[in-house]
């Protein structure tokens, strides 16, 4: 898992090189608030620790962190992926600022090809057999990809990624009853409350 975090950081730092847009930054960043919702009980940080952790909340660290079982592993995953991403992101940004313009076309094509592959690799464990809420995850992934690509020509950059979140509503609506296999969810949420 730590090794995954390191290689992840190396790869995704390349994404930092390619990514230069400034104007759409806040729109792009709204998804990090949603990731924060997902991470808040895994990290359960308070005070200055939360203030520090917030800086490292992003696609890659979220994907790595939520894959682990148990609070300690989740926290280790967050810290190792966050640290390696932080280092490689900044180092490759400097490298990019100094020399990316001199990259040949083949190297640029390689970099452009690595970015979608990295996101697919982060997504993959959620769609593989044995994942929680498998059927819903697959519907959501297909729906999110379709929505985002379809809306790219008409929305400002970054907004189509946020709009892809609507695919979750699609899954929550269409998968109303528990599936025959694959999907696990609490049947009686009140049953384990003692109030």
């Amino acid at each position: 898992m730590v090794r995954d975090g390191v290689s992840l950081g190396t790869a995704v730092g390349l994404y930092g090189v390619a990514f230069g847009a400034v104007g759409s930054a806040l729109l792009l960043g709204t998804r990090n608030a949603i990731y924060g919702l997902r991470l808040t009980d895994l990290l359960s940080d308070r005070g200055w620790r939360r203030v520090a952790a917030a800086h490292w909340v992003i696609d890659e660290t979220t994907a790595i962190t939520v894959r682990e079982r148990g609070l300690e592993l989740s926290r280790l995953a967050f810290l190792s992926s966050g640290a390696s991403l932080f280092l490689s992101w900044n180092l490759t940004t400097v490298a990019g600022a100094l020399g990316a313009a001199s990259f040949g076309p083949a190297l640029q094509a390689a970099l452009e090809s690595v970015v979608p592959a990295a996101f697919l690799a982060l997504l993959w464990p959620r769609l593989a057999r044995g994942a929680d809420l498998l059927r819903e995850q697959r519907i959501v992934a297909l729906g999110g990809a379709g929505i985002a690509v379809a809306l790219t020509p008409v929305l400002p950059p970054g907004m189509q990624i946020v709009a892809a979140g609507l695919a979750v509503l699609l899954a929550v609506r269409t998968v109303g009853s528990p599936g025959p296999e694959g999907s696990r969810r609490p049947e009686h949420p009140q049953a384990n409350r003692h109030e």
């Binding site: 608030a33 949603i34 909340v57 929550v172």
Partner: protein
């Protein structure tokens, strides 16, 4: 854009983005205990990661584009299906993308 404007945008966007992250982490866990909200939050990363993969593979500057990145993504999917490690998946995708651009270009 003048240098001052540029830096104002960069610093403003940085602060705004940081506050978005902090806001997400600061939602009380009590809110997240409700089953519907919990399930929704559980599913959101799949939607956004799939969207990021698809947009980076099939669009370029706001237009839909099919190019060498499709071959690279397919090769990455094959590598993932064969349980290749993360770094191998990226090397495969980069190699296929570079080759594809040479063949097509």
């Amino acid at each position: 854009m003048s240098s001052t404007t540029l830096w104002t945008v960069v610093i403003g966007a940085s602060i705004g983005n940081y506050l978005l992250k902090l806001a997400g982490l600061s939602v009380p866990p009590r809110v997240l205990e409700r089953p519907l909200i919990r399930r929704t939050v559980e599913l959101i990363p799949a939607a956004l990661l799939a969207a990021l993969a698809a947009v980076n593979a099939f669009t370029s500057e706001g237009a839909l584009v099919v190019d060498f990145r499709l071959a690279a993504l397919a090769a990455a999917a094959l590598a993932l299906a064969l349980r290749a490690p993360f770094i191998v998946v990226l090397l495969v995708a980069g190699g296929v993308g570079a080759l594809g651009s040479l063949v097509a270009g």
